[in-house]
């Protein structure tokens, strides 16, 4: 009996191929899993769910519908679940990247800057992809978007092109080479991902953040609520707070006089509480080094 060597080799090769295919698949899936997990952390830091979930009315996560009242009108956050019809299930990586970083919708028109792309423009490529991987791993929810209730002329989306020319500075986050890693991580979190300035920085008549008053607070924040000054100004900011004080606020919502924040910041704290200690420390380090600006009344 002669052994059928070629056939055995072929069989072995096939087996190896099958095994390596399975292993490769597993590895790819593990890589995807890592990406999704990383995206989950980043989406928490960015607070995506806060605006994109109508929690007050029992809405499903990321299915949109939450109302945000601004001086320009009421905006309803869109569905960002991977639903193919009402969500973002058909968006490519490039379309997702353009949305977050350029404020451009897949049809080429512009997002209203109530979507914080003036901050998100600084998010890195890798982080944007991880956020997309995470969102696409969430359950798809079929829920049609509600039209914004915005008065003329702000309702004219094409006017946003002009707005962007005037007020939108696209471009990646640039770390300060003369500052440490902690400062730069804090700067990235505050200015890009967590987009703190979108609420804490006063806006001009056109609804753009005033760069000279970065994080200086405003009596007319989202939903008409007062938002505090978080620059290190001694009198009207948080200049008297220590790093520990800032970290306690981000972790438990506790102020130095043992009050516990409510309102919109209580929602934010649910996210910042889930960040690593190192990231909260980085935020504190950066906040304490921004320009101190007194509040305007």
């Amino acid at each position: 009996m002669s052994r059928d060597v070629p056939r055995e080799t072929a069989r072995l090769t096939a087996a190896f191929a099958a095994i390596s295919l399975v292993l490769g698949g597993l590895a790819a899936r593990a890589e995807d899993g890592d990406l999704v997990a990383r995206g989950a952390y980043l989406a928490t830091a960015a607070g995506c769910a806060d605006c994109h979930t109508d929690a007050k009315n029992g809405g499903r996560p990321y299915a949109g519908g939450r109302a945000l009242t601004t001086p320009f009108g009421t905006f309803y956050a869109p569905n960002i679940t991977p639903d193919m019809v009402t969500g973002i299930g058909q968006w490519s990586d490039v379309q997702f990247l353009n949305a977050l970083r350029e404020g451009v919708r897949p049809d080429g028109s512009n997002f209203f800057p109530v979507f914080p792309y003036p901050s998100f423009t600084k998010i890195t490529d890798g982080d944007v992809r991880a956020i997309k991987a995470y969102l696409f791993a969430q359950p798809a929810v079929r829920q049609a978007n509600r039209a914004h209730d915005v008065a003329f002329p702000f309702s004219w989306r094409f006017l946003l092109s002009g707005w962007k020319v005037l007020f939108f500075n696209p471009g990646p986050f640039r770390p300060a080479p003369d500052r440490g890693e902690t400062y730069n991580r804090g700067a990235y979190l505050v200015t890009a991902l967590a987009h703190c300035g979108e609420c804490h920085t006063p806006r001009n008549w056109f609804g753009a953040m005033e760069p000279s008053r970065f994080l200086a607070g405003t009596p007319h924040g989202p939903d008409g609520k007062a938002v505090p000054n978080i620059t290190p100004n001694q009198e009207t900011g948080i200049g008297k707070w220590s790093d520990d004080d800032i970290e306690a606020l981000l972790k438990d919502g506790q102020t130095p006089d043992f009050d516990f924040v409510g309102g919109a910041m209580a929602e934010v704290v649910k996210n910042t509480a889930r960040l690593t200690d190192a990231d909260r420390r980085a935020i504190a380090a950066f906040l304490r080094s921004v320009t101190a600006v007194p509040s305007s009344r």
Partner: protein, 159 residues
Amino acid sequence: MKSSTKRSMLAAALICASAAISGAALAQDKETIAKNRETLMKGQGKDLGSIKAYIDGKGDQAQAEAGAIGLTQSTRKIPDAFPPGSGGPSPDGKFAAKPGIWNDWNKFIDVQKNAVSKADVLLAAVKSGNKATIETAFSDLGKNGCGACHETFREKLQD
């Protein structure tokens, strides 16, 4: 003038005067209620401070325990500090009690009872002297007790 007319005018004047007085009394009451409410909340802040000082090694356990006892009592007094019709701004004008407190009283009481049970847990933790346990219970009461109520039922008017 006919005496019946005089009498009715007098009656009208009396009604007006008493309405004015009771109105003033109500306003006075509302002010007192707001003041007492602020005192209760600030007292809770102080009690929490004494526990935090112990966690950070800056205060002693006896004071922390006194603070924790204070919190188990003061959290139970919260419903009395919010009688119907006592909405509106705090004495310093920074915050306001939202109408939801009275429109959704059962939910308000749920949140309050939650804070009571968390305060009880914190007291037990302080008595045990285990700082890790105290820290967890402290955060839980602060964030999910005080903070949960402030998130839903307190309005920030100015910073």
